[in-house]
Amino acid sequence: MAIEVDDLSVHIGRKAILSGVTLSVKPGAVTAIVGPNGSGKTTFLKAVSGDLPFDGEVRINGEALKGMKPWQAAAHRAVLPQASSLSFPYTVREVVKLGLLGGRSGANPTEQAQLPERALERVDLKGFAGRFYQELSGGEQQRVQLARVLCQVWQPVLDGQPRYLLLDEPVSSLDIKHQLIIMDIAARFASAGGGVLAVLHDLNLTARFADQVAMIHRGKLVAAGAPAEVFNDALVSDVFECRIQVGVPPSGDLPYVLPQSAQL
């Protein structure tokens, strides 16, 4: 049981955006994808979400993604896109409720009705249900979308099958407190038996929350493993093309990443 990505390649026109990526996204763990801008992180997430045609194989809990109908895939995983806009005046509750559209939240019927409120509470938006989505700030909108995504796979394990959260830069427009709240939700989802695949920019947040880091550079997977294994001065500096120092504080085993200079 896992999302297994096997020799995944994506071409747009003749250009190879991703080539030969093999990775296993395990339940019970947070897997972070890191890499510089344009390295192919988001393309990877989109391919695994089923948004892009790709070569190679993606299997979710042993089932090939290519043969899956949308509602089957929707029962396995929920996807948080980078940005979502709305052209009609939906209330926050109505947006969150869209996550229940597929009917596979896993909550029992009595719980189901309160799910939007409970999901909003989790993302620290209690009392926002009656507000209009378009009137919220970018960060608040992002958290509303996360609440919607949580509703879709409310139970991290359903019918004995782990489910997955695919998050594209879930904390990009949030302040530190809410970055921590969101990453904590991801970590709790994983510890309850679900799997999380998240594109992240902040290497320190990655070191703090990821169980597995996949580093992508120019469309290729250059390293995968625990943050302490993957993060070292030479590799990180090389991939991000600037001088970065990786340290380990005496108090713990989590590495921290300190940018030094744009020159190598």
Binding site: P70, P81, L86, F88, T91, R93, L101
Partner: protein, 366 residues
């Protein structure tokens, strides 16, 4: 020039929303209210007109069993003149409003309308072809289809323009909203030019027919027209509830709809077919009746919110009611003559459309 489909400010006036953000109870109440309104308008329309036949007289005549109370003339006025007109008006109003709501959901744009994507122009070209060439070049074909020639031609025109549009705007199974809107403008212009050529070669009688058809009118409502257009419209309306869930998911974009488990391409295909059928059939029997498809869904979104499972039935009811009101106005203003109903809806609808545009100018970045 850039087309943005993402920005639409929240309207400043709207019904207050409760803290829980749940508008479904209100939506159900509004739908019930619209059913009552429609029922009243239906009875009122049956009982009013140029003849002095009162609906109540007829009703009491029927109920009382005294068939002498009901003159033959009254039976004809109610059964063959007013009833078909009310039924056709209701069908067309519902079909225009629902087509508008479906198109707007599909394009994620509150200003989209079958008229905008060229479906109306294509249907119009089909109808004009039959009117102008029906007595000469196409006479043998018209002989075969009889009274069904006009609705079939308009439906065909609407469908062909929709399919052409689709060929242009769809790549690898994905339809780009911006390309489709732009292609719709081009196809609309082409259909307009071809229609113009036909108008140019038309003789005096054909021009007169064209003018009245083009203004939009319910005056010629007959049971035959209802049998020709009604089944197509009803089929399209019956399909709409099945689209509601998919259209709701589409408001967050096609990718997100797919993530939520919706078969996006199927929803788009069905929505486009339903819109082409409903618009084509309406245009054929009543000509161009504009703005119902924009005004009705917009007003409803302000009161019950944009969720399609409520928006679509409410649009059908309000669209039908609005058309009955417009029809009543068209018969009253210049009685005993009557105005084509398209003039009434345009006079009421166009300023409303401009008002929406004024408030949402950020929508189009030119």
């Amino acid at each position: 020039m850039a087309l943005r489909d993402d920005v639409a400010p929240v309207p400043r006036w709207r019904w207050r929303v409760d803290a829980d953000g749940d508008r479904s109870a209100r939506a159900r109440a509004v739908i019930l209210f619209l059913v009552l309104i429609y029922a009243v308008l239906f009875l009122f329309s049956l009982g009013s007109g140029a003849s002095d036949t009162s609906f109540w007289a007829v009703l009491s005549g029927w109920l009382g069993g005294g068939s002498e109370a009901l003159s033959l003339r009254d039976r004809v006025v109610i059964g063959d003149i007013r009833l078909p007109r009310v039924v056709l008006g209701s069908l067309i109003g519902a079909s225009l409003a629902v087509s508008g709501a479906v198109m707007q959901g599909l394009f994620r744009n509150p200003l989209a309308d079958p008229g905008i994507v060229g479906v109306g122009s294509g249907a119009g070209l089909g109808a004009i072809t039959v009117i102008v060439l029906g007595n000469t070049v196409l006479a043998p074909v018209i002989g075969i289809f009889g009274i069904y020639a006009l609705p079939l031609a308009a439906f065909g025109g609407g469908l062909v323009s929709t399919l052409l549009l689709y060929r242009v705007a769809t790549r690898r199974g994905q339809t780009s909203i911006a390309t489709m809107l732009l292609a719709g403008i081009a196809l609309g212009a082409l259909a307009g030019a071809l229609s113009g050529m036909l108008v140019y070669v038309a003789d005096d009688q054909e021009l007169r027919d064209l003018t009245f058809w083009g203004l939009g009118s319910l005056a010629g409502a007959t049971w035959a027209k209802i049998w020709a257009a009604g089944p197509i419209i009803l089929a399209a309306l019956a399909a709409a509830p099945f689209l509601a869930r998919g259209l709701d998911a589409m408001v967050l974009g096609e990718a997100t709809a797919n993530h939520l488990g919706v078969r996006v391409q199927r929803v788009k295909n069905s929505a486009i077919l339903a819109v082409a059928a409903a618009t084509g059939a309406s245009v054929a029997v009543a000509g161009g009746i504009g703005f119902v498809g924009i005004v009705v869904p917009h007003l409803l979104r302000l009161t019950i919110g944009p969720e399609h499972r409520y928006l679509l039935p409410a649009s059908a009811l309000l669209g039908a009611s609005l058309l009955l009101v417009a029809d009543a106005i068209s018969r009253i203003v210049v009685a005993p003559a009557e105005l084509p109903i398209g003039i009434v809806t345009a006079t009421l609808g166009a300023p409303f459309f401009l008002w929406i545009l004024l408030r949402q100018r950020g929508l189009l970045d030119l």
